[in-house]
Amino acid sequence: MASLVQVENLEKRFGEVRALDRVSFAIDAGEWIAIMGPSGSGKTSLINILGGLDQPTGGRVVVDGQDISRLGERDLTRYRSEKIGFVFQQFHLVPYLTAVENVMLAQYFHSITDEKEAAEALKRVGLGDRLDHVPAQLSGGEQQRVAIARALINHPKLILADEPTGNLDEANEAVILELLRELHASGHTILVVTHSPAIGNLADRRVELEHGRLARIHVPSIAKD
């Protein structure tokens, strides 16, 4: 079976800076990958390209049979709304929309809004009683759970999370971790950028970057065995 994601010789330059330098790896459907590495090693650059937020300067990225490095603006927009669920370190919720409306926003750009389904998604992340709260009325962990509900609402092929626990304390990190584990268990493909060894250890594989290059791919389960 072909991999869900294939990254081949991926390169991203910002002028002189090589944020990504000939990176190649593949992700199978249902896999949970952790991307780790020091600050500035190119993790965000990689995840942005995978999510269609940025275009590579070289190499190829094939997701679900689609070469996204060649997509035009319009197709890239569709790709983002249909295939990808994003979770950001800064949550990025719309401040004046309630929790359920923030989830519905993703539905709106995808197709049509369905409030019941959005509320359902929030219940799944344990926020059934916070539907009508705006982000300012929610804790950081709760905001990130809204973001996760929003990332899941359109049934994406690939969930991309850039340091989802970077702004959270340990207790909240544990909640998010548990959520990610559940998602993984229910068959989602997850790519998470993290500095947290705990998350790194839970993932199926750890992709480690250094200076934009792929340093190594670590398979914790094998190490554990």
Partner: protein
Amino acid sequence: MFLRIVSDSFTRKPRRKILTAAALALGMAVATATLEVSLDVGDRLAREFRSLGANLLVTPASDTLPLEIGGVDYRPVDAGAYLPESDLGKLKTIFWRNNIVGFAPLLDVPVNVAAGNAAKSSREQLIGTWYSHTVTIPDGSRFVTGVSATDPWWRVEGRWFSDGAEEAVAGAGLAQRLGLRAGSSVKIGAGERARTVTITGIVSTGGREDNAVLAPLEIAQDLAGRPGQYRRLLVSALTKPADSFSQRDPATMTPVEYDRWYCSPYISSISLQMRQQLPGVDVRAIRQVAEGEGRILTRVGGLMWLVTIAALFAAALAVGATSATTVLERRSEIGLMKALGASHRAVGAFFAAEQLLLAFVGGVLGYAIGVVLARVLGIGIFGIAPTLRWILFPVVLALAAIVALLGSLAPLARASHADPAPVLRGE
């Protein structure tokens, strides 16, 4: 969802929204006032010209110099040239025929007037003309005209004469001198000829007619021995006030300019068209005073348009500045929307909708202020408030929408094409 976001963002940053709406309202107020007043200028001028009566005088081109003292033509009947009455229908075939409101041929005859059976007669002026006469136009249709059309405000006590009857009306001054009243019978003679007519009414015009007898043209022609002829023609035409273009010599115009001139109802172009239809005539504009006034009003109108354009431009700039700030502020929101798969169009629509809402508020306010402004200006210029034109309301709203969208075009484009990655990365 769309409405939710638009209405939410609309109520945020109220001070900036008020500023934008105010800029739009100001621009629209000036635009409304200008539109109201300048539309009114045209109408009012036309109406004023009409109320002044005939504004064109047609005379034979080869006429001798008129010997007029106090408006009375003292030339003998056989001096000077005459024009054929039968040509008059052609006036309604010129390009601007619909602007020809009316015309009345005149034939002045010096006559002896004797009231009733009185033996003594006095030397008076007879003016032969049409009151309400049916003219056959070359295309076969009919047109009723005469002094009833060119000078509708002439007041008559009793009734007007009917064309073709042995009737006449007496000027108020003459009637008093000769002791005439409606129903009097008078004998009018010129040389060997004489007609006896019944006075049907006493007319007062404030002009030379007050001291004359007005009778059907046919009677004057008979007394003068000039059947089917007249000497002067008064024409009332709706004309466009003279402007710099109308002052130019048509001979120096390019074909395109000539066409434009020919197809504008200037006095000069209507005159030319009349000369083309009535051979051997001279057409002169009368009412020069009103003409000059028209020119000033047109110039005032031009100035107001200039101010309007400046105001609209300023409004667009203000809208542009505030929406640029808004876009800058909401960069991360826009980036997020794009990351969630929002298209250019979807992002642009949010901002455009907000601008349109502002345009609506600004437009309504501006229209209201503009109406008041137009009243003040109208009273200042004409002494009368312009008539309200509701059709301007949607026009002004549309104008506000255009200004708001054009003004925010650049920030709008920047917003909808913004790259999501740098926005989401930083902060």
